[in-house]
Point group: C2
Chain length 162, copies 2
DNA sequence: TTCTCTGCAAACGCTTTGCATTTCA
DNA sequence: TGAAATGCAAAGCGTTTGCAGAGAA
């Protein structure tokens, strides 16, 4: 019962987090699924491509700059992109959704360590073995088990500044 | 890396979830901290005592019956009770806070398995070893690390009814 | 009496939606 | 041309807050 968890001991960034898919690959995905390639949509994908951290709708909207579009359009697009599996939604428990771009075929399952003071986000690689979920399934008869897990703490900078 | 996680293999209810603290013990805690013992406050604690599952503010408000009070009062009281450590807040990611009564000295740290269809909640006993958090602390220099973890799935009844 | 708490109503932040118009294919 | 996407404004929902009056100590 005291064995180390399947969560990797030395978290680091996934390759897919560093090498974002090129824009034309993204628009290709849209085309394939009969989604229109609009200016706002491209601009939003471009913003997501430029950031490796989860962004809120508002942050994405603010980062659009010249290519500004309505905030409602940002919301609508991120919902669409999530449905399409091009983006993953994260919930840090502050009542605001955050999104990260996904590479094709990646389910983007990973977790974060979030500073409770400055909101700095560190990506935590690795995850539970599916064994834990399988065990829950056996014990309670639940199926299709998933989980949400995020870590919170005080980052070194904020700890120093106190 | 494939060892079983420190999450207990056979979840079951904690004793403190079955034997709720008596009402007079709760009011005693209030008295000790110079909080007034009002009718709404007692009624809210009584509702929490009667339920072993996490309740939303609205659910608590609805369960008050005769002793009804303003919904804002429910919100205010649960925030107060949380600050006092008499209640623990849970976040199932649906944008609505849920609360459970705590026994004195209990930090209430545990997790849930929630049915995505009918919202049935099963309490999952046990948790990560602190080892995982200690490892994150070492790797990233974060301090005061905590985590939020909830499981989701389809309960047997809902799976059958499909 | 004093300080807290409550009720009421308004406001807030995130998110969604209805509708007319524009844009892509 | 026809379906989908956008802009704009309004609304929805959980939650908080300002303020005057009520209630506990």
């Amino acid at each position: 019962m005291k064995q180390p968890c399947a969560l990797h001991p030395h978290p680091h960034s996934h390759a897919h987090r560093l090498i974002q898919p090129p824009l034309n690959e993204l628009t290709e995905q849209l085309r394939r699924r009969d989604r229109k390639i609009t200016a706002p949509r491209q601009a939003i994908l471009e913003v997501l491509r430029r950031h490796q951290h989860p962004l809120t709708n508002r942050e994405i909207h603010a980062a659009l700059g010249e290519s500004e579009c309505d905030l409602a359009t940002v919301y609508r697009n991120l919902n669409t992109l999530e449905q399409m599996g091009m983006v993953r939604r994260f919930d840090f428990g502050d009542g605001t959704a955050r999104f990260e771009l996904l590479a094709e075929g990646d389910d983007g399952h990973h977790h974060h360590l979030v500073c409770t003071r400055c909101s700095t986000v560190v990506e935590v690689d690795g995850c539970f073995s599916t064994e834990v979920e399988a065990r829950l399934a056996r014990t309670h008869g639940f199926t299709q088990i998933t989980h949400r897990l995020e870590f919170f703490g005080l980052c070194p900078k904020c700890a120093a500044g106190t």
